[in-house]
């Protein structure tokens, strides 16, 4: 019954106890036993568990008998917990009426807390502040309440105080959900309107869609239409996760559950899309749908060129489950055949790479990640550039635009100097600085995304001894004085090493890269000239001298085994060498070089 339904999410900074609280809610409502909870049901994939983040959202239906004597159905909609998935988070939140804002009593408000809270506020959710880990020695409940009030302007009078680990305060949380989060509105009599919160690929049933029914009902046999692309499908099965997948006769107005409708790939219905009755479409789709566009691109190549087709198969399979990443074949003179892949962000990129390596047993070379630039040519064309190698020559570039972000950084006051310095180096412009409490500061900065994608977060962590938290939202494109730097070996451009940088840094970066190449590329039988160039202008140069000889002077019976083994090893290493003109570049050198591109 709609009036006895509550839809909510838990939003929190990483490690503030979201999964533990979810487990406790499942246990307290009898959905799982405490033994099962150990596995932290909601995070299905290994990678998620290892990184402590949630990548794929799922929804669990909990049966709860409240103190008022009524039975309620509580839909807990899990949200991905990382900045790369902002859009997915916002769509999951759009399926809810309320959210638990979970904050660690000893850590306080962090960057992700703020970013997620803003998303919840933007979706008009009722937000229940929940302060966790109250029995830890460092807990400062009053201080944290004050921060929530000051920074997020939320009423903390009725903040819930819990220890999810100890199971304290859980029943109060459940009661608050029932009492303070409103039931879903929506009209059962209207035509079906359902919001797609998530979708994934199942080997047996094809795509499974997680949807929130806004109006009407959805049941097997119905013809439904995805409003973004007008494709129609026949519903085969609907149901909920309890957390086991459980079939239902239909999903009612206000329900959150799954729909199987014979879709072959997740791209058939994207997150944020509206499902409606094909015979009686709703007049207004759910607001807020947008095509997600990859923000970060890189080239992926197999170290063993013979495995190119395996990489293609693996990408195809991964894409079945994740329509937010894109790929298309590309070739590099230095690396052979591979794919240019686009990701929502850096974490998304790392996750895909790790899955390719782990689940498909591939060894990959990744070129330096790049953002998408917009280039206005002197001929008046606007080019979208996701690969520095594809940039036109400098003489035909009229102007360059690069994506900017607004970053929120929270850290103890003593690190502020370091953070300002880092942001300065990365062309950041400070927008604000606010004390959360006497010791912690929130900084907001506008920064070019290009300066973030490689190692900003790592550097931030190391400059703040791990204390800083960081989140960002994309602002849009701004003009930037950018140049492309090509690296040349004996006059041949190593396409995979080209990179875009701000003009002010160009000489330093070119020189740094050339020096690094000199260090990493072994001497060969001939001299090797390393050059960094902008267009035809050389901005840095290094030389690797030739090996004049490589021969064992005295080679007798005692040496033969040793030499053979040494040569076998060298030959094995050579297989993994990449050839640029005559110059052989070891794979390790490539990997190391692609890393320094961002320093």
């Amino acid at each position: 019954m709609q009036t006895h339904t509550r839809n909510f999410s838990i939003i929190a900074h990483i490690d503030h106890g979201k999964s533990t609280l979810a487990d406790r809610l499942l246990e307290a409502t009898g959905a799982i036993t405490s033994r099962e909870a150990r596995a932290q049901i909601l995070d299905a994939m290994d990678l998620e568990r290892e990184r402590g983040i949630t990548i794929k959202a799922h929804a669990v239906a909990l049966r709860y008998k409240a103190a008022d004597g009524n039975r309620y159905t509580l839909h807990l909609i899990d949200t991905p917990g990382h900045v790369d998935f902002t859009y997915e988070v916002s769509r999951s939140l759009a399926a809810c009426e309320g959210a638990l804002l979970l904050v660690d009593a000893s850590q306080g408000v962090e960057a992700q807390t703020i970013a997620n809270a803003h998303l919840a506020i933007a979706n008009n959710l009722v937000i229940l502040p929940v302060i966790n880990k109250i029995d830890l020695p460092g807990a400062d409940v009053e201080g944290v309440k004050q921060q929530i009030q000051d920074v997020l302007d939320l009423d903390v009078k009725d903040a819930l105080l819990i220890s999810a680990k100890e199971g304290k305060g859980i029943s109060e949380v459940l009661e608050a959900i029932v009492a303070r989060i409103p039931p879903p509105t929506g009209d059962p009599a209207k035509s079906l309107k359902a919001l797609v919160c998530d979708s994934w690929f199942d080997n047996y049933q094809g795509v499974i869609v997680l949807a929130r029914v806004i109006d009407g009902q959805i049941k097997p046999g119905m013809k439904i239409q995805a409003m973004s692309n007008n494709r129609t499908f026949e519903v085969m099965e609907v149901g909920k996760f309890t957390p086991k997948r459980t079939k239902a006769e239909q999903l009612e107005t206000g329900d959150v559950g799954y729909v199987c409708a014979g879709m072959r790939e997740v791209a058939d219905t994207k997150i944020g899309d509206t499902l409606t009755d094909a015979s009686r479409p709703t007049d207004a789709p759910c607001p807020g749908y947008k095509e997600v566009r990859p923000m970060v691109f890189c080239g992926l190549y197999t170290t063993d060129t013979a495995r190119f087709e395996d990489l293609r198969d693996a990408l195809q399979k991964l894409r079945l489950n994740d329509s937010s990443f894109v790929y298309e074949p590309e070739s590099s003179l230095a690396l052979g055949f591979g794919f240019r892949c686009g990701f929502l962000g850096l974490l998304h990129m790392e996750i895909i790479q790790e899955r390719l390596e782990r689940e498909y047993n591939l060894t990959l070379i990744t070129t330096a990640p790049t953002v998408v630039y917009q280039v206005l040519t002197t001929a008046g064309d606007i080019l979208t550039i996701d690969n520095p190698a594809k940039l036109p020559p400098p003489s035909s570039i009229e102007s360059f635009e690069e994506p900017f972000i607004r970053a929120t950084i929270i850290a103890p006051e003593r690190y502020v100097g370091n953070i300002l310095q880092l942001c300065q180096e990365r062309r950041g412009v400070q927008q604000g600085m606010q004390y959360l409490d006497p010791t912690r500061v929130m900084l907001t900065y506008e920064l070019p995304l290009n300066e973030i994608i490689l190692d900003f977060y790592d550097r931030l962590k190391s400059k703040t001894q791990g204390y800083a938290s960081f989140d960002y939202e994309v602002l849009g494109y701004r003009t930037g004085d950018m140049v492309k730097i090509d690296m040349l070996l004996n006059g041949e451009t190593v396409d995979a090493l080209s990179f875009v940088t701000h003009k002010d840094n160009a000489h330093a970066r070119g020189r740094q890269m050339a020096e690094k190449m000199k260090e990493l590329i072994p001497k060969q039988m001939f001299e090797i000239a390393i050059q960094a160039a902008i267009g035809s202008k050389i901005i840095a140069r290094e030389t690797i001298g030739a090996i004049k000889k490589n021969v064992t002077a005295k080679c007798y019976g005692g040496d033969i085994s040793r030499k053979r083994k040494l040569w076998e090893k060298q030959k094995e290493g050579k297989k993994r060498m990449k050839q640029v003109g005559k110059v052989e570049v070891p794979q390790e050198a490539f990997l190391a070089l692609l890393k320094v591109t961002g320093e």
Binding site: K549, N550, I560, S561, R564, E568, K574
Partner: protein, 375 residues
């Protein structure tokens, strides 16, 4: 298939700065223990199936300094070799010697015992260069030793030389060559000085107390030696070896031609019936294992047919004559012999002539790079 025997004598009076071989400073008690162990090792091998019915074509005493042992001790070993394995009638029997460790009498005793070839570690004829590499001897001593060897009846005399010694100039090297040519040896080995790990030289170079050999200069020295020795009637038959006609070292040829050899003594390596095996490196481990009645084999590896063939090629290419083209007729499992050969021919490292594949002059400088492609 020929069969050779290598005997490693792990004793010297002092250790030279460039030397990475297994050795101890000579002491009579150590020598006694070693001789006892060596005798045990021969006894254990003599009973092996793989050697049954095969006589030795070559015997080579290397080291170390074999002549750190007395002539009588060496004679004893050689007698033991004859008794345990048997020699062919024309067997080549070589002994390496330090010029300071021989007398005319001791050399005569070796010749009488059947030694056919004597190889002196001359290294240089310039006393200051000798000092640089930690050899407290002189060019005069080498000259004297060669004279004594000739008087003792040796015609097959080799001198080992090293070029690229710290401080050595091209002229200094040419002077050493002239000096040794005047001694009329039958064979010369000219080795580019290499800084081996864990040698005194290596430490000195790392500390900046010695200069690493200049490879460009060494290449010039190599060319100069090759020209000068050819003019003097020597044939270069391997990267570092030159001989008058008929005096190529048959034992060393075994190594490069993939023939069988048994190695005795600490750290000695063997290649028998497609198996490579090697002895314990430390003299102490070697002796102890034999005292317990076991062979001191520390590692052993049976090569595949493909590996044997590849070894034949890469070590065969060290020979100036190269290898027979037919050795490469079987495409190996990973294929592409021809592509590799062509690529290296294009780079001017290899050439094919009269059915043989050889390294070019340029290719000889990069023999190890070529080997790493072909192995």
């Amino acid at each position: 298939m020929s069969l050779g025997l290598y005997l490693h004598v792990p004793f010297c009076r002092t250790r030279c700065h460039f030397c990475a071989f297994t050795l101890q400073i000579h002491r009579e008690d150590r020598a006694q223990r070693y001789l006892h162990a060596l005798s045990g090792e021969m006894r254990l091998h003599a009973g092996q199936q793989s050697l049954a019915g095969r006589r030795l074509d070559t015997v080579y005493f290397g080291g170390g300094t074999p002549t750190a042992l007395s002539a009588a001790q060496l004679e004893g070993i050689l007698q033991n070799v004859r008794d345990s394995f048997g020699l062919t009638g024309s067997a080549e029997i070589s002994v390496e010697a330090h010029p300071d460790t021989v007398t005319e009498d001791s050399l005569r005793q070796l010749a009488d015992a059947g030694v056919t070839r004597i190889s002196f570690g001359a290294q240089s004829m310039d006393d200051s260069e000798l000092l640089q590499i930690g050899r407290r001897t002189s060019g005069n001593r080498t000259q004297a030793a060669v004279g004594m060897a000739r008087a003792a009846g040796f015609a097959n005399i080799n001198l080992d030389l090293i070029y690229g010694v710290p401080g050595q100039t091209l002229d200094g090297w040419l002077a050493t060559l002239e000096a040794v040519l005047s001694l009329d040896p039958a064979h010369l080995s000219c080795y580019a000085l290499t800084v081996e790990e864990k040698t005194r030289l290596h430490i000195d170079v790392r500390r900046g107390d010695a200069v690493e050999p200049d490879t460009v200069l060494q290449n010039e020295m190599e060319d100069a030696a090759s020209r000068r020795l050819a003019a003097a009637g020597f044939t270069r038959y391997e990267i570092s070896n030159y001989a008058r006609p008929g005096y190529a070292c048959r034992h060393n040829l075994l190594y490069w031609q993939g023939q069988d050899y048994l190695g005795l003594g600490p750290s000695a390596q063997s290649y028998l019936d497609g198996r490579r095996f090697g002895n314990a490196v430390s003299v102490d481990d070697y002796c102890r294992t034999l005292e317990e009645g076991r062979l001191p084999v520390a590692e052993s590896e049976l090569l595949s047919e493909d590996q044997r063939q590849r070894e034949r090629i890469v070590f065969g290419l060290r020979l100036i004559d190269g290898v027979d083209r037919t050795l490469l007729r079987h495409e190996p499992p990973d294929g592409a012999w021809n592509q590799t050969l062509e690529r290296m021919a294009r780079r001017g490292l290899l050439e094919e002539r009269e059915g043989r594949i050889r390294l070019t002059d340029e290719g000889r400088r990069y023999a190890d790079s070529v080997a790493a492609e072909l192995i």
